[in-house]
């Protein structure tokens, strides 16, 4: 199964890219993807907990199951305004 991962703000700076395609085992959940990324990127590994995540442009929980072609983003703390 392949998903597209999008990076923004400080996370984009940390990985030095805006998006990538990741291959994950079928049945993977959002938290499994975060664990995989944290295994690759030391900046992510320093987070004590998974940051807010979005699947297909909507907030999603750590237990949300991923599907082929999903658009996933982990969101740095939001400042806005």
């Amino acid at each position: 199964m392949q998903v597209r991962v999008f990076y923004f703000a400080s996370f984009r700076d940390a990985v030095n890219r805006e998006e990538e395609t990741r291959r994950m085992p079928p049945g993977s959940r959002v938290r499994h993807l975060w664990e995989a990324l944290a295994g690759d990127v030391p900046y992510f590994a320093r987070f004590g907990a998974m940051p807010p995540a979005a699947v297909n442009r909507e907030y999603a929980s750590a237990e949300t199951e991923l599907h082929e072609g999903d658009e996933v983003a982990f969101l740095p703390p939001v400042a806005g305004g």
Partner: protein, 137 residues
Amino acid sequence: METHLTRSPIDVAALLKEARRTDGALCVFVGVVRNESGGRGTVAIDYEAYAAMAESELARIANGLSRDWPEVRVRIQHRIGHLEVGEASVAVLATAPHRDDAFAACRAAIDRIKTTVPIWKKEIRPDGTGEWVDATL
């Protein structure tokens, strides 16, 4: 669908023209770029959005406010890109027959925007370096 994100300067006067003839109160909040943050100088802020999601989150907030204050209509504009000190980054217009509802909905709107909408800001210091806000680690 109405768009909430813009790369162009926010036109507050144009926003005011959206009031209905039944509205007796127009409450506007405008957030602008300030020249300091926590005692450190700021010369500009770069705003970055997860645009597709930010649009839908802003629409969701506007719809939620309409449910909470049925007589109020809320319009939100958020600018992204490079903004200098004094430029407006966000504008909220809440219009209602009476002022109590307009004030309350306007306040709730900006508070919700700051919590859930995926927009980030990088403060640019006088020496040209940039720092993501709240990206604390």
